[in-house]
């Protein structure tokens, strides 16, 4: 009764039940798993707790990552926020949180894949920053996570969330779409607006390649998560303004899937193209290999 794998189905259920995306997503999970509402809710609540912990841990100035390519950037952005900033307080906070989570991820710390480890910063960054600045409380955060997860579920059902299969558009693109839909929900927008925001966010990152330097989940991954937060918030604002996506979300997802299949394997997480193939990246790989042989 509540199973959906497209946005069209999800929106039809919201209409039928006179309920929001969070509620329909919750009921679909209850139905599919046979678990009680309280169980699903408390699991999602736990995930939000871990997200908040990883944000806190990642704001330290001296974070050491596996490859040493990033670390301390979340702290720097927090300092900038206090000096006054161009992007706006909440967006900058969201971006700093996204950097924090990805720095924790890159240093073998505990995070929530959202939808993957490489794209774990955007969704918690946007949700936590808005919850804090607008004083919305943890209950709203859980509902926003349900909305984000519902969008991710549609992408996983129709396309892929894996960079190795679809490039970064499938990871950071999906994360931004999930975050955009979630923040529209937090701002009191309709289900249609959430889906439109997700469509615009994914469309805006269509074709993004997965090109991790030295195969590490550091450059350009961490900053793409931060950029994804601002991208998501702008798409949410457009949707809240009544701007719609000319291409419906389900078709954008299908397009993303097709673009992913057209992408050369060099641009799908193999560290052979894009940023990973630049002289600076190659020099780093050479240096690391020398270090390892010496050990």
């Amino acid at each position: 009764m509540y199973q959906f794998s497209t946005a069209q189905e999800l929106l039809a259920m919201c209409e039928r039940e006179k309920a929001g995306i969070a509620e329909v997503a919750l009921r679909s999970e209850m139905e599919a798993s046979g678990q009680a509402r309280e169980y699903i809710w408390s699991r999602m609540e736990e995930l939000y707790q871990v997200m908040q912990e990883s944000i806190k841990n990642g704001l330290a100035p001296d974070r050491k990552t596996l490859g040493g390519l990033i670390g301390g950037n979340a702290y720097k952005l927090q300092q900038q926020m206090q000096k006054g900033c161009l992007s706006g307080q909440t967006v900058l906070k969201a971006a700093s949180y996204a950097l924090a989570v990805t720095e924790v991820n890159a240093s073998m710390g505990k995070i929530i894949a959202a939808p993957t480890g490489g794209a774990s910063g955007t969704l918690p960054g946007v949700i936590a920053a808005f919850i804090e600045d607008r004083k919305l409380g943890d209950e709203m955060a859980v509902q926003a996570l349900l909305v984000g997860a519902a969008i991710g579920k549609i992408i996983a059902s129709q396309a892929t969330l894996s960079g190795a299969e679809g490039g970064c558009q499938a990871e950071c693109g999906s994360a931004a779409a999930m975050a955009a839909a979630a923040v529209v929900y937090l701002a009191g927008g309709t289900a249609e607006m959430s889906v439109d925001a997700a469509a615009m966010a994914l469309k805006g990152l269509l074709g993004l390649v997965c090109d991790p330097v030295a195969g590490l989940v550091e450059v350009p991954c961490s900053k793409r998560n931060a950029i994804g937060t601002a991208h998501a918030v702008l798409c949410a604002d457009m949707a809240l303004a009544g701007i719609t996506s000319y291409i419906p979300f389900d078709e954008v997802v299908e397009a993303m899937s097709r673009v992913g299949r057209m992408m050369s394997p060099d641009l799908r997480e193999t560290a052979r193209g894009g940023c990973a193939a630049t002289p600076t990246a190659r020099a780093y790989v050479l240096k690391m290999n020398q270090l390892r042989t010496e050990q």
Partner: protein, 221 residues
């Protein structure tokens, strides 16, 4: 199969990579639960991308952490090499060519001084795994359900006897797959259930004629 919301937001994991770190830890943990009883030495043989890009993802630490019994969300994974030494577990890593297996695959061999037990498994993305071989017998399961595995002689009636015992105890079979090497040779059954299979039921299954061995792996949560 329907995608769960917790497949999309989740799992809780130690970074940096759901396939190279979280999946690796789950593989190690699953291998331990299948055949890591009282082992003193473990060999971890890395195939494909696990061997080539594993270092930068902490794949070795995650695999070993799993073998020590840690979950994919356990922060002790970072220190698994030192913790293995403390526990008196000898370990070694090497490269292996497992042929057509998924690029993120590993063969794990446990030694308890007398016998060995080996597992081949793959990390297929998003922290999801597949066990592909136990002690040389090809099979396939994900560990997302309570899973019962038999090693038995390929003869008529074994599947029926097993399903009869399960039904008698109210255990519902979600998925059932049968594998064999050749006709009337050694075979294997993988039964994924909706309920855990209690020791009492396992004892009854072990007594079934034709069955040589029964392994049960419960959910890791």
């Amino acid at each position: 199969m329907a995608v769960s919301l917790f497949d999309v937001v989740g799992p809780v994991m130690i970074g940096p990579s759901s396939s190279h770190t979280a999946g690796a830890a789950r593989l190690g943990n699953m291998a331990r639960r299948i055949c890591g009883h009282g082992f003193q030495k473990v060999e971890l043989l890395l195939h494909g991308s696990f061997a080539h890009t594993g270092k930068g993802h902490g794949t070795e630490k995650a695999l070993l952490g799993g073998v020590l019994g840690f979950k994919a969300s356990d922060e002790r994974i970072r220190d698994s090499f030192a913790l293995a030494e403390q526990q008196g577990v000898t370990f070694s890593f090497a490269e292996i060519d497992l042929g057509e297996q998924h690029p993120n695959s590993v063969k794990i061999i446990f030694h308890d001084g007398k016998t060995t037990c080996s597992i081949i498994g793959s990390s297929i993305g998003g922290g999801k795994i597949l066990i592909k071989e136990i002690d040389g017998m090809a099979l396939e399961f994900s560990g997302e359900y309570p899973t019962l595995i038999t090693r038995h002689h390929d003869e008529p009636g074994v599947v029926a006897k097993v399903s009869a015992i399960l039904s008698q105890y109210g255990v519902n079979i979600a998925f059932l797959k049968v594998f064999r090497q050749y006709r009337a040779g050694e075979a294997s059954m993988v039964i994924e259930t909706d309920q855990p299979v209690e020791p009492e039921i396992l004892a009854q299954l072990e007594a079934v004629e034709g069955i040589n061995r029964v392994i049960f792996v419960d959910l890791d949560e």
